[in-house]
Amino acid sequence: MTILELRDLHVTYKSDRGDVPAVRGVDLAIAAGETVGLAGESGCGKSTIAGAVLRLLPRDTIVGGQVLLNGDDVYELKPGRLRAVRWTAAAIVFQGALHSLNPVRRVGEQIEEAIVLHSDRGDAGTHAVRDRITGLLERVGLRPDLARSYPHQMSGGQRQRVLIALALACEPDLLIADEPTTALDVMVQAQVLELLAELQRDRGLALLFITHDLSVLSTTCDRLAVMYAGRVVEEGRTVDLLKTPQHPYTRALARAFPTIGDPRSRMNPSGLGGDPPDPTHLPSGCPFHPRCDMAIEACATADVLLRPIRPDRAAACVHVAVSA
């Protein structure tokens, strides 16, 4: 069953500098129990997609295309339905939200508020709600007594787990996790990834996993979509895509995380030169061509859209041969 479907999604922000076309035609579908990874560097439009799904973008933002959540077009929903859909149909673990926790309230109270405000699971202070808080904390690997702590008394990793507990408060069908493990150490990351996998198996949770860290996605996702400048430039099944990246950008991303023990990367960190493109001043042709080590003359003029390579596999590069 398809939980989320994006059809030719376009998002353009309004700003003093003019229009900012942050997402420029993205198609994506996620089924129940499936994890889809959305990768790509800063500014490519990942969080914009997350915000577009739940209509959390600034009011004057222009959204084109369709966002279907459990078959309903999110942009046609009445305000009451929309409120219900947020948290219970889909919830977001926001990027960089470690400071979004209220500093002067105990984390248990903050989880309680999410439960009471957004679901019909009972009133504040009842046993049912307290048990639920305990259950949520345990589920994200925190000691229940931490409910009495204030955010500043917790480490960065502990706070991040509180945020995941918050997002799970109303048992959503779809969890959008925007850089959920970026601030975490590898052990907690492994635990959180295992936790997310478990939620999926047991509850059929669909997961949209957003991060710039391909290595994290490599072990968790069924499918990957790599974004560049507001578009998906390569997609496919995870193993297939990482083993034989077709787009030069995917290849550069994959190289950025070293394999420990590989002498080529010892004392030799690998990055990608140049800066990510500014959406208000996109390069002509293929937007990646100024940073691409495989660019040919045609790349400066011809924009290339996703080309199917084989079933479940596509890339947007002039060097990719289109399947028959």
Partner: protein, 328 residues
């Protein structure tokens, strides 16, 4: 290589609210940093990494222990700390909050010069530091505001702000955790170049073992307020001796990886440090019965284990089950 920093028996405790007793966030750290080296300090969230480096520059008072920097014991008076903070610079864990959004990049870098009353022409010092951090030409970046540059460039601004004071030691708390994969490599390369060209030392706090492989000379693994293994990065990563180090390495996400050892059990709580070896409740050697077979299980449960150095002194491990290789 000569020693720049020596920590001996450093303890930092917090009073815990809500819970009983004290939080032993840093619980007896012995550690040295040589001149011109990158030391990666790795360990789980909450193990005390940030607390430890904050203690080094006096932002957290030590409960006990001593710090020797550049040959002199660090006193805790305000004036001494001020002097120390010029020679030891810190880049904080969260770069988004670290820059004032209303101050230009010039002002951000010049701030340290003003605070410490550094002699010399300010614009030139700022320009040199920006260029050193890879923001060239510096004039182009000076008038900009933080939101007008990319995340990687903001991290370079922070590095420039630290380098402008000509420190001997840079404490970098998760320097690339918030950066893109593509930018990450460039910032790491910059850090390595700074070390190799200026002779500065860097302590890089990280949970990213790939960072250690990319730029660190040595690596120190921290668990629940203590160092449990320290040695040359290449050796520790190729041949980890402590079971905790082994577990950490096993969960590094890599496409073709060894079998994962995800540690379960209680999240380690510095308010309740286990008796014996503090790692024993989560130790795979204990769980698998290996410690029992080795006949050390009683010691694991009751004897607090100290770091033991190899004969050559390059490698130290705190584990009842480990015999150190002879590197002497």
């Amino acid at each position: 290589m000569s020693e720049l920093l020596r920590l001996a028996g450093v303890h930092v405790t917090y009073q815990s609210s809500g819970r009983s007793g004290v939080v032993r966030a840093v619980d007896g750290i012995d550690l040295t940093v040589d001149r011109g080296e990158v030391l990666a300090l790795v360990g789980e969230s909450g193990c005390g990494k940030t607390t430890l480096i904050r203690a080094i520059i006096g932002l957290e008072p030590m409960t006990s222990g001593s710090i020797v920097f550049d040959g002199a014991t660090v006193a805790t008076g305000q004036r001494e700390l001020r002097r120390l903070r010029r020679r030891v610079q810190m880049i904080f864990q969260d770069p988004t909050g670290a820059l004032n959004p209303r101050a230009t990049i010039y002002e951000a870098v010049a701030e340290g010069i003003r605070i410490h009353g550094l002699a010399g022409p300010e614009p030139e010092l700022v320009a040199t530091a920006l260029a050193q951090a890879g923001l060239r030409p510096p004039e182009r970046y000076m008038p900009r505001f933080p939101h007008e540059v990319s995340g990687g460039q903001r991290q370079r601004v922070l590095i420039a702000g630290a380098m402008v004071l000509g420190p001997q030691l840079l404490l970098a708390d998760e320097p690339v955790a918030s950066l893109d994969a593509s930018v990450r490599g460039e910032i790491l390369a910059l850090m390595r170049v700074l070390v190799d060209t200026t002779g500065i030392s860097i302590v890089a706090v990280t949970h990213d073992l790939g960072l250690a492989w990319n730029i660190a000379d040595r690596i120190a693994v921290m668990y629940l307020g203590r160092i449990v293994e320290v040695g040359d990065a290449e050796e520790v990563l190729a041949d980890p001796l402590h079971p905790y180090t082994k577990a950490l390495l096993s969960v590094v996400p890599e496409a073709d990886r060894m079998e994962q050892q995800i540690l379960v059990g209680e999240t380690p709580d510095p308010a309740n440090v286990p008796s014996g070896c503090r790692f024993h409740p989560r130790c795979p050697l204990v769980a698998s019965g290996e410690a029992e077979r080795l006949g050390i299980i009683d010691r694991c449960r009751s004897v607090d284990v100290q770091l033991v150095a190899s004969p050559g002194g390059r490698r130290s491990v705190a584990c009842h089950a480990v015999r150190l290789p002879n590197d002497g």
